[in-house]
Structures are given as C-alpha cells and as structure tokens.
Symmetry: D2
Subunit: 352 residues, 4 copies
C-alpha cells in the first residue's frame, strides 16, 4: 500500500503554503523543508507580508525555507503562483475562498481547515454557523484520512484533511464499523489535546498561566468535530451513528489522547476486534497496533497513530486507546502524507 | 449540616501523623499546621527518624510544625503516643498494622490508605493481591466521604477516607443513584490525574522527562479504585453496579478531572438530575454545582469538588464533569474534614 | 519585630481592591478572604462591572468574598468608598490617578504598581516612558519591602510595594551593602520568573504553547525593575550602585529564582556575609536563610523569601540564591504584610 | 567548511551504540535511524539484553532501527562487533572500559561521557572522584566541539564530545577569547537545563511532581562541567581562566539556556565582539548569531546553537545568551556531527 506509484507528476512537486504562521502552518513548513521531493516555492500571509519566513519564525533561520518572502495572501495571487499544490493552513471560513480560486486555476488543494470536510452545507451551517462559503465545491472535495481514502486522494483536486480529534477517533473505529464488529450505538469518546490545538491566537483562555497545572473539558454539549466524525462513522457503518464525544484541554504543547468505549457487535469478542485492527493496518506505515497503553510522547513529532484495544469482560465492552501528535498526524503530517499519495511519491517520504 | 456539633471533644485535638513524608502526608502537615484547633503532637517515619520535619521538608521551615522530630514509625509507639487522633498516610497493606494498634489503644484512626475501604476481605484480595492484613477490623471501619457519611464518621473509631478518583466519581453519582434518577447500567468514567497521585517514590515511569508533554491511560483493564467505587455505587443504587473506569496520567502536579457519561433513568431528564444535585449539596460548603465546565485549577489547593452536568439530547445521555485536588479533597483535605466532623468542630475549620 | 503594635486602627480593617482580576489582584482576593482581621468591602473593575467576584473568578465561588459585586473602577468612586485601605493592583501609569484620589480622601494606599517606587520622576520617565503621572505625590510615597522599611510603612499614606524581581534581589543584598560587607561594584543578578509575572493579558508571547518547554531572557538591555533596584541598593550602600540584571521567563506559573554573583568587600569572607544575613533576619518570620539551594516550590503559595549564600574560593566571589513566589512575597503577600504593619496587626496575620 | 570531504570511508558507516536506553542514547537512535549514510548494526545494553529496541522504546516501533536486538554490553563484545564506529552513551566511569577495548580493536569511538574530556587525570580525579579509569588513553582522545575542532576530529580514534553546558558556554566564548576580545577574568555563566539532563534514572529528585512548577540551582559550589570549560577556555585564552558557573534545573524536558556576563578586553567594544562572532561562524551550518534573545524552543529537536550578544553600556559589560537542545547539540546531535566529519560526510547529513 505504501509503494510509490509508477507515475509521479513533477508539476506537483512545487508547493505553496497559505497561512504558514499558525501552528499547523509552521509544522508544514518544517516538514516540507526537509521533504526530499517537495519544493516550497511560495508562502502567503497577510500579517507578515514582505518579511522572510526566517524573520517571522526564528527556528527556521538557516534552513532552505527560511529565505522565502511572504507574499500577500490573496486568492488571485495564490491562484497565479507557480505551485502545483497549495496547502491551506487557515481558519475555517477563510480557507474556502482560496480553495475556489486555486482549484479553478487547476491546482491541487490540500486543505487543513474544516471547510470541505462535510458533505452537506446544512450540517456545516448547523455546526459552524453561517452559510457554507463555497457549497458548489463540496462535491469535488474528498474527506481525507490517507489510510482510509487513498484512492480518492489520488484523483481529487480538493483534499479536505480530517481534523485532529477525528483522525484519532476514526482510525480505530472505521475498520471495526465497516466490518460490523462494533455496535454503532453507545460509543463514547473522551479526548485530551495539547494546547497548540487552540491555535496561535492571542486569547486569555490559552495563556500559559491559565492552562498550566490545569485540565478542563470544553466544547460541550457538542464540539464541531462531532459533525465530521459522525458523518464518516455513519458512512462506514452503513447507517446513522450518534455518539458522545468530550474533548479536554491538557497542559502540554502537543498530542491527542483519545479513549473510546464501545461494545462488540453481537457474537463478537474483543479478540475479533483486535485481530481486525491488526489486519486493517498490517501494511500501513503510520498506524501501530500496540500491546500496552500508547502514550502521546511515543508519537510526538511523528506521523504515527498508535492504537491499543482492551477487553473489559466485567462490562462486556472494549476500551480503545489512540494517540497522535495533533500537529503532525492530526494536521501537517497528514497533509504531507496526502501530498505524497497525490504526487505519486512513497507515502512515508519526508515523514520518517 | 456544617454547623459545629454542640459537644466537641478536647482529647481529639491532639493529633499524630504516620507517613508524613509522602505527598498526602506533606499536605496533611500543611493543613494541620494552620488548623486553628488541631495540635500536631507527633510525626512518625522510618526513613527520617530523628530529623525534624523542617529538615526533611524545607518548605515547612519556620512554621509551627517544623520543629517536630520524627519518631520511629512502629505500631506500638504510635499506640502509645498522646494523640487522640492518628492520621495514617501510608501505602495500602502497611497502614493496617498501625490501625489495629491505634484502635486497640482507644484512638480514632483516620486512614488515607485503601486498607479499610472495602467491606469484604475477598474483594480486597482480588483487587490488591494477598490476604487482607486485618479482616477483623473491617466491620468497625467506615467508608468516608464526609458529604455522604457524616453520621457514621461521628461515631466510628476507624475512618477509611475514600480514594482520590472515587471521591470525584461518587460525589456526583451517589445522590443520583440513591434517588433512582440515573440508570445504574452503562456508566463510563474517564479520569485524568496529576502525577502526585503516583506518590513520592523513585520510579522511572514518574520522572519529569517521562511525564511532561505526555498523556497516557493506565491501570487497564481494571484499576484498584474500581472496587471501592462499585461497592459504594451499588450500595447507593440498591443493586450491583458494574461500570467502566479509565484513569489517565496528565502532566500536572495536582488535580483530578473526571468525565462521566450516563443515562437518566426512564422518564427522567437531565434537568431532573441537575436539580437533584443542587438540592443534595445545597448546604455543603465544599461541593459546588457549576454552570460552566469546572477546571482543576479552580479547586487547586482547596477542598472543593466542582461538578457540572450537561444534557446531551443527541444521544439521550448526560455528561457529568467533576474536579478535585487529588491531594486535598482527594486525600489530606478530606481527612481533615473527617477530623473536623469527628472532633465536633466546624466542618470547614482549617480548610477555607 | 513581628509583634502586634499596641495600637491597632479599626478603621484600617475595611479594605478595597482596585484591579482584582489580574493575577496579583486575584491573589490579593484569596489572601484577604481568609485574613482574620481584614474585611474586603469593595472591589473595583472596569471590565467586570456589575458581576460578582465569584462569577468572574469561579475559584472564589462559595468563599466570603465571592458575592462582592464589582463597582466601576473610577478614582472618585474609589475615593468615596468606605474602606480605610485601598489596594491598587493595576498596571503602571494607571494606578497613580487612583492613588491621588484615595490619598486625598484620607485613605491609606497600598500600591502594587511601579508608579511610586522611584523617588525621581526623571528616572521614571527614563525607564517607563512618558511623564510621571503624579510627581507631586512622590515625596509622600515610601518604597516598601516590609523587612527593610517597617517604620516608614507605619506612617505613610502611600505604600509603594517593591516589584517581584527587586524583592528577590534586595532582601539578600541590602543588609550586606548596608554593612559594607559586599563590594557594590560588579554585582550580577540573573533571575527566572514564572509566566504569571507577565500578567493576565491576551498576547501571543505568553500563550501556553509559546512558553511551555521554553526558556528565554527578555528585557535586555535593561529591564524596568533595574531602576528601583539600583535606587535602593545605592541608598543602602551609600553610593551609586550599577549592576547587571537579566530576567528570564521560565515555564512555570509562579516563582522567581534569583542567582546573584558578587564579591565580598576587602577583608571580608563569605562566612562574614552569611553571618550578617542570619543576624539581619533572625527575627523575621518570612525570610529563611538556608544551608541548601532554595527551590521555588519551597515558597510557592507562601510569603517566604528563602536565601542561601555559597562561597566560591576559586574565584573569590560569593553566589547568593534567593527564591520567592512572585505573586505572594513578590506582590499580594508583600502588600498584605504591609497592611498588617500599617494596621497594627501581627505581621504574619493571614499569611501563615 | 561544511562540504563533504573528497574521501569518505565506507567502513565507518557501520555504527554501534552502547547505552541506547538513556536519554542521549535514545536521541542517538532517533538521529541515526534517519541518517542517510549511517547503518546501525548493533545496540548494546545490560538491562535490555535480548529485547528489540522497539520493545524497549515503543516510540521506535516501525522504524528501521526497531528490530535490532540488544546485545550484551560487554567491552569484548563491543570490540568484536562489525561496526567501524562505536558511540558510547554511558555514565562517566563506565564508558572508559568500552573505549579502551574498541580503540584497541581499531574502531573509532565517539564518547558522549565525560571520561576523556579532561587532559589531566588529576583534574578528573578532583572533579569526578576516584582514579581515572584509563589514563593511558587520554593522549589519544580529543575534546570535540565540531565547530572548534574539525581537524582533530578527522584524525582521532577517540572523540570525546563536549558536555551539554560546556557546549553552550564555549561556542560563544572560545572565538572571543582566542582573539583576545574578551577579558578572561570575571566571567559569570548562569545556565538552566531541562530535566532530561539528569538522565533516565529513578531518583526522587527528578520525579515529575518534584521538578514541575519548580526552579532550583544545583551543583554548587562547583559543577563537574566547570573542569572541561575552564580547561578549554584557558587553552583558547592562552592562560588560566577561572570563572563562575551556576547550573539550574528548569521545568522542561529539553533545552539549555545559558546567560554569560563578561567584559570586553581593554579598548574593545561590544560591536567588536559581535562582529567577531559573526565572522567566526559565518560558514557554520549549526551556529546562528541572532539579533533577538534566543529561546530554547527555537533549537528544540535541532542541532543548532543560537547566540546573541548585548551591549550593557551602563556597566561596561556584555551579556551573551546562548541556547541549545541538551540532547541534540549538547549530546547526540553533536556526536552525529562528529561522526559526519570523521566519516567524510557532509556535516549536516541526517541533522537538518
């Protein structure tokens, strides 16, 4: 599954990044700088116009990418740039406009925002508020978790990368629901995320002294990511899945730890489920099925998703643990993995 | 409920602490040092024999308590000391021996360990391994969360304080189960604890560089605290409760955040449950029912338990959040609250 | 030194807090809530007008202070309130206006800002920029570190509490310079502060994900606090002291660790200096001279300043370490200590 | 300076790691796994004998290196392995025995311990205690900071990599002292290190709950690293340098922040010093001279050393700030940089 496609498209190796100064954008810069086959030819920003990437982000000073000068973030300019692939690391609602222009200009768009993850504009409006900014593009967009959607990634002009929490929930659940091994009712997922998940925006709630030595739930009664998770789980299960999802903010920079409780389908055992997970990801380089509880530090700075499944005979349920780095497998790394697939490269290129 | 009993017992104001050098013991020292009515007359330790408390724990230097010299921790010596109340801040399996000697000597024992929390020695053996060290004392011991067991605390010679996770789970659930408002089946509790919960013992797993920037589940498939939680919830519900409980280690010193998912009993609504919680704790000084998600920092260093309950109409469930400081309401503060009740003092004395 | 004055002034027990919602103000609220002799009768805020303190800061819910309603922060209203003492926990430049009005109204002002720490308006203008907002009040104001200025605190209408870094630097150095034991030339102080020192203001630089796992110097080439430190050290030494001071931001909520390198005066030894420190603070309840390196956790949440002095025979210098909690001894605790002295109470009241 | 040598030695591409399970060893594994030209052929351990690297360190599961089986750590076995280069990531005192055997067997040894950093066995005995374990090898060993000792690295069989603190101190100071621009007297260095610097050993002092929310100095009155720093600075200055160095433990996993105060040599200005630093490192890929205060997060996970120099006209001194990742430029990265030089590879290979 991870072998290089026979045909790689050289035009796709030139890439541009819009929104490089957020946490996901910064991670994208780091990953693409050391990617052997990608060539970052443009970075766009409103805030940092005219400065070099090295000036804005001192950690990049001295790297290849550091001398790139920020161009004005403007859909027309993005559409006119020489890159074949455009990464959008922008807030939801802002990305769509850029996607429309870039797709029209024939570019491949890899979108890290939520704008094209939902198939129905009405669900977007319900969860995100307001009209969908570009409903006409929804049918062209594909929802992308590489392990679960390689074929569509290879052909789509608009790749909507899954959100961070959703990636940690779907990787363990989709194979189980698809195979009818897990009861689609009664699923409960409780996740904890590092604070970089809140983005690099000035807000008292995310100050160091507010988040350190603190743990809190948020997003109740329904976090926005529920919409894409239920859409995808329902698709896999073949009927509507309604679940409980409670995100928490944990005092760390990076990492998502997700704990899922569910019930094996009638006649199925925890052993069946574990076997299915092992089989589903046997040839996937970035999903590791574990015998011991996965820890976020095991995947920190990597594109791995580690999963463990525990039987709970006392209750007849199973407990599934999964961890990712929210900025890598949950954002920039997943986007690069999509890029590798789309550009016909080895899936692990620049990621291991 | 919190008013001072008419009769206070002066003999009970002299207190001793066995195991003062662990995290719970250290917190006990801090609380009792500034307690207006308690007089710490002895501290016992094997490790620090002959040193003063101020030498062993520099933070206490200059406080009243700092010049106390550690006496050899030995059940006979503890039994012979002049204190009326003995606090045991010892590991499970070690506390029992001291409890036996002190109770026999007519002292009131407030035990922070797990030794006397379970009513049945067989359950202890199952969860903690090995024979119960003093089964003959089990019928004298009472399980203590002050808000739920004031009357028995007033009369018992052996007060077994609830564990940290169990306190955060039972305070919201017991009133609901007692009133038949919550379905006793299908309860899922996911908790995150600060690392002080693991105790002050040299172990690679709890090194700074292992725990910082990391989040992990542990104790699977069944953590020891499940035994006391199920015992008490079953008692409240009037029949056997079997639940899922998954503890996690979070990168912070203190605090427990518990997220519980359950289903209202048939015909009951989330509003009914919330009303019941408000009523149950209307006159309790240390339980606060909140309108917004409680955060562990709100209760850090305090004896409060903050609880919020959210309706989840999409699933028909409720989500209950509760937070405590594991070393205060989850250990030393709870013990002092028990002491206040037992000694006929105002329940908040030394704790607010 | 710490005994209660024979005459205490009951009018001074009613206190008001302006700027309760910053970190120092919040700490003041916590300390004054449990202070046996202080009665907080008013809290002022622009932002939170009309809300209760418990609503704005959930941690205070259920405490005495929590039902206080924020009054509009306006100098005239502060001057007209019924409190005898007004605590100002405001940014520099903002506090002065309130101080002028309150002093004119006959109140005692305890100011946590920098507005009245410098004797000369020109130095203020040089370090803080712009004209001093109330130069006419400078001669009434006294610079206050309680251990070093008890007499003036007892008589002044305007008590300018020392800054956080300055407290950690002056407590060890002033007695040495006064006694001529330390060479006033060549002093180097390097400090690390927790992030709460930057205040509760929305700014990207103080976001969790910017500060966690990070250490940085700032304020170069001269931090504002240098102005008050050099003023006070020069006064103690009897001639102009010019020193190096480099503050750093450390990934913790609270605490300042200061490391000072200096040279004993000709003919003096490290032992002489240590003896002098022990003598200077022999009867001070909040300064502890230590034999081992002090740690910020030893003083966290307390009003202590811990100091250790090490001989460095290789270089002929001494290394002095001092630690405080920046929000307590470095701000709110110091202010309450001043209050205790001014109101004729025991100096430790509400602080131990 | 960073160009590939014309002659690379293929025999040196096979490498072995002794002590892979400490923090530096783990970082070495990570760096060498993705190094394009290095081939890890053996890992040695006493503790983990027979297990795979992936079993012992779950983060490596799925990487090339993960299936390597730990061989018994024994000098004879290390000497007999097929690697041309042996990395020693062992405690001081333990490494020497392995170095002796491996050098005798004709291998190149890259030692991360302190065993061969000092030229004189007597200084070793003075600072580290006990006899030097292999004094006969001291004359073959070279002290290595790649930027300062490339030529000797190319020829030596025993490369003693500089310590973490020493690297952060010497990179800024050596060029200044060599050029006579900095007064060799009166230098003061104050450093803060992340807790991984203490190693992966079970000890209460390094528990999470002891180090989090805490800052402390240690190693007083003279830390072991002073010996190698003074040796090298003296060599550069051409006469004996005696300095003050105070290390601190900061609550973070990784990173060293060093703040140095010194005085320009007579007739020299801060501008001269800055110019000299810029010139000294103009073509060095891993040293960046900065205009703003460097932060440890800018170099976290990288082999960079960032340096800034500030003039302090008030005192006539300069303040020099430098930051590294203690596990990379301070240990494993520096070792790989040495390896690249020794093996005739591009100096940045596997490190950017």
């Amino acid at each position: 599954m991870t072998s290089t496609s026979s045909k790689t498209d050289p035009a796709l190796r030139k890439v541009a990044i819009v929104g490089a100064s957020g946490y996901s954008g910064e991670e994208l810069c780091a990953l693409l700088d050391r990617h052997p086959s990608a060539d970052v030819t443009a970075v766009f920003s409103r805030q940092h116009l005219g400065k070099t990437l090295g000036e804005v982000m001192p950690r990049f000073s001295g790297l290849k990418i550091s001398s790139l000068v920020f161009t004005e973030a403007d859909p027309a300019k993005v559409a006119a740039c020489d890159a074949g692939v455009v990464f959008l690391a922008l807030p939801h609602g802002v990305a769509a406009e850029y996607a429309v222009a870039a797709v029209k200009a024939g570019k491949v768009v890899i979108d890290l925002s939520a704008d094209f993850r939902l198939r129905e504009a009405a669900v977007y409006a319900d969860y995100y508020g307001g009209e969908h900014p570009a409903p006409e593009l929804l049918r062209d967009a594909i929802y992308a978790i590489p392990e679960l959607s390689r074929e569509s990634i290879r052909q789509s002009p608009l790749i909507a990368c899954a959100g961070c929490y959703p990636t940690s929930i779907q990787l363990p659940l989709i194979p189980l629901l698809k195979a009818g091994l897990l009861d689609p009712d009664g699923i409960v997922a409780s996740s904890a995320s590092g604070v970089s998940g809140a983005g690099r925006k000035a807000a008292v709630d995310y100050l160091y002294a507010e988040c350190n030595e603190n743990m809190r739930a948020y997003g109740l009664p329904r976090h926005r990511h529920l919409s894409e998770v239920e859409q995808q789980l329902s698709h896999a299960a073949g009927h509507k899945v309604v679940m409980t999802f409670i995100p928490h903010l944990a005092p760390m920079n990076r990492g998502i730890h997700t704990t899922i409780v569910g019930t094996p389908a009638a006649g199925r055992t925890a052993a069946d489920l574990k076997k299915a997970l092992l089989a589903a990801y046997a040839s996937d380089p970035f999903v590791r099925i574990r015998e011991t509880p996965p820890e976020t530090k095991h995947v920190s700075g990597t594109n791995f998703c580690d999963i463990a499944l525990y039987d709970e005979p006392r209750t007849g349920r199973v407990v599934i643990l999964s961890v990712i780095d929210n900025l890598v497998k949950g954002a920039a790394g997943q986007a690069v993995q999509c890029f590798n697939i789309r550009a016909g490269l080895a899936e692990t290129e620049g990621l291991m």
